[in-house]
């Protein structure tokens, strides 16, 4: 096993981890504040990928067209999330967890078929943006510019979100809502608006992840179900609702997948589920999470 091979594996693990972090952080935010485990998060990711492709088709290729498509699709998905939260999900808040879970699962079924009708079942892909076409060579390992960009974007996004959460008024409200929403509502804060905002922010991250992934993975039906299971594993390992926990969870997940293949071929998928079960048994609130109230 050469150094270049190990390096290539860990880079691919890191890239996968950062994609996963972008998506899973949205899931974690939504759970942290709304206490809803959103199965449809993977569907939003898939819609992000498809809309990015669609927008790229419409606007053609010019400098910055890729970024426009990515941003446009993330915003579109965020708006869809907002509409769903306002019109439907809102009415299920007082009800049993099971109903919310099943509602988001119904969305998975519906959105999956909507995507099938709109975009068919053939594989689609979006070319890499012009500026990030090339690749570096580090110790004999080939690292595409785009992968490096994603590896840098993940932590940048994490820091930006962390600053937002810890330094701004809105961030303070979000943390308060995650800690004790009844108290926040009693203090006169508009918790309803905050929920819509958070659901949109979470959906935005899912759409962003889906749009950014298009140059490196093909867009296919079923990508929604694949990613949601992975995102669940990541947020559970890191701690449901814990932001840095999600980051850590994504890093662990990426490396277990990348190196698990070398140690036990075919059983890396087994290993990640086993890890998820282990964390839930030993420390249900996750590696960095704190126990959840009620």
């Amino acid at each position: 096993m050469s150094l270049s091979f190990l390096l290539a594996q860990s880079v691919s693990g890191l890239t996968a981890a950062m994609f996963l972090f972008i998506v899973a952080s949205g899931l974690s935010l939504i759970f942290g504040v709304l206490r809803v485990l959103n199965f449809a998060h993977g569907s939003f990711y898939m819609l992000g990928a498809y809309t990015a492709w669609q927008v790229a088709q419409w606007i053609g290729t010019f400098t910055g067209s890729f970024w426009l498509a990515v941003l446009g699709s993330a915003i579109a998905v965020a708006l869809l999330g907002g509409v769903i939260e306002r019109l439907l999900l809102r009415h299920l808040y007082g009800r049993d967890d099971l109903y919310q879970l099943l509602f988001t699962y119904a969305l998975v079924l519906i959105l999956g078929d909507v995507a099938r009708v709109l975009w068919g079942t053939q594989q689609l892909s979006v070319p890499r943006p012009a500026g990030l076409n090339g690749a570096f060579e580090v110790f004999g390992a080939v690292v595409p510019h785009y992968n490096l960009f994603i590896i840098l974007l993940g932590p940048a996004l994490a820091i930006a979100c962390w600053l937002l959460l810890s330094r701004t008024g809105t961030g303070r409200m979000i943390r308060a809502a995650a800690y004790d929403r009844e108290m926040l509502a009693a203090l006169g804060a508009d918790v309803g608006k905050l929920y819509t905002l958070m659901f949109m922010a979470g959906s935005f991250l899912a759409g962003l992840g889906g749009a950014l992934v298009t140059p490196v993975r093909s867009i296919v039906p079923g990508m929604d179900v694949d990613i949601i299971v992975e995102a669940f594993i990541v947020v559970v390992i890191g701690g449901l609702g814990s932001f840095w926990g999600t980051f850590l969870g994504a890093l662990i997940f990426g490396q277990v997948l990348a190196f698990g293949i070398l140690i036990l071929p075919g059983f890396s998928i087994f290993a990640v589920f086993a890890l998820m079960a282990l964390v839930l048994v030993v420390r249900p609130s996750g590696l960095l999470g704190r126990p959840v109230k009620g």
Partner: protein, 324 residues
């Protein structure tokens, strides 16, 4: 004296009517009836957790899959007779339910659901990757029917096709299983489960070992799911990793909610509805998931009690008006 509609043994009537299906002469009806009988048992077994104990398992398909694989592999690879393989499949499902359940019942609410999901996915991953035993992704195919020649000696049954004979076997076995589960939920043990559902803290205070009861319910539900899975593998003539996948767990949850988890037969009715609907709709369109999702949303918003819950609320309203 109970009112007339309570004195009629509805379950027995349905059972007798269902036993006539092979003589309708249609392969399709027998196929559908077998499908419904098995899935109804699967759904009722989940309701033991969901409706009676208040535990939301998101990994119930694991035990269905374990039962199916164990029974099918024993019958085909090792030539074990059906009766023994069925018992082994059920026992194996119960064993894994005991092992996984022992961890799951220590978690609460969403963590319980996530843990059942994680364990189920482990089972799925093993079935998916263990090619030499389970056939991996391709599934475990050509599972044989049990030997049903003894039926030829019985009156009326001689001329039946293998599918029809197996249906009768399934009907009798699931009938026994339903009767057992009904006994369990009506017993003092079942009452304790209901008390735990209503208020776990209070149940703990009055001296009930909540987790032990929850585990017992989990094992029982797993065993009946394994029993249903074992029958389903033979009926389906093959076992696939999908049997244990989380989408299957979601499907059976939907059956329970559709029928209504507040009533013993609710989940069975939900299973029957969903199976018939699936057959009808698949004949016309490939967009079954869309329709299922839409049904689910209507259900969650308009009829949270499911079919049975809505019907019994309606009947109660009519009766109140009549009595008033």
């Amino acid at each position: 004296m109970q009112p007339l509609h309570r004195r009629i043994p509805w379950a027995v009537l349905v059972f007798l009517a269902a036993a006539c299906v092979p003589w309708l002469g249609s392969r399709f009806y027998t196929f559908l009836a077998t499908d419904i009988a098995i899935l109804a048992l699967f759904a009722v077994s989940l309701n033991l957790l969901l409706g009676y104990t208040g535990l939301v398992s998101f990994g119930h398909a694991a035990y269905f899959g374990i039962g199916a694989y164990t029974c099918a592999i024993l019958m085909k690879t090792y030539g074990v007779p059906f009766a023994l393989a069925l018992i082994a499949g059920t026992a194996n499902a119960a064993l894994w339910a005991l092992l996984f359940g022992a961890f799951c019942v220590r978690s609460t609410k969403i963590y319980f659901s996530m843990l059942t999901l994680a364990f189920a996915q482990i089972v799925w991953a093993v079935c998916f990757k263990w090619n030499s035993v389970t056939g991996g992704e391709q599934g475990f195919n050509n599972v044989p029917y049990p030997n049903m020649d003894w039926m030829d000696a019985l009156p009326l049954l001689g001329g039946l096709r293998a599918g029809d004979k197996f249906y009768l076997v399934v009907l009798i076995l699931t009938g026994i299983a339903f009767a057992l589960i009904k006994r369990v939920v009506g017993s003092p043990f079942g009452r304790v489960l209901t008390a735990i559902r209503e208020n776990p803290e209070r149940a703990e205070f009055i001296g009930i070992a909540v987790q032990r009861y929850q585990l017992a319910a989990f094992v029982m539900a797993g065993a009946f799911a394994g029993f249903a899975g074992a029958l389903f593998g033979i009926f389906n003539r093959g076992v696939f990793p999908d049997f244990a996948y989380w989408a299957k767990s979601a499907e059976v949850l939907i059956m329970v909610i559709l029928g209504g988890m507040g009533h013993f037969w609710g989940p069975a009715i939900g299973a029957a509805m969903l199976t018939v609907l699936n057959q009808e709709i698949n004949a016309h369109t490939v967009y079954w998931p869309f329709i299922l999702g839409s049904i689910l949303i209507v259900l969650l918003f308009a009829f949270p009690g499911g079919i049975v819950g809505t019907l019994s609320a309606g009947i109660a309203r009519v009766r109140r008006r009549r009595d008033a």
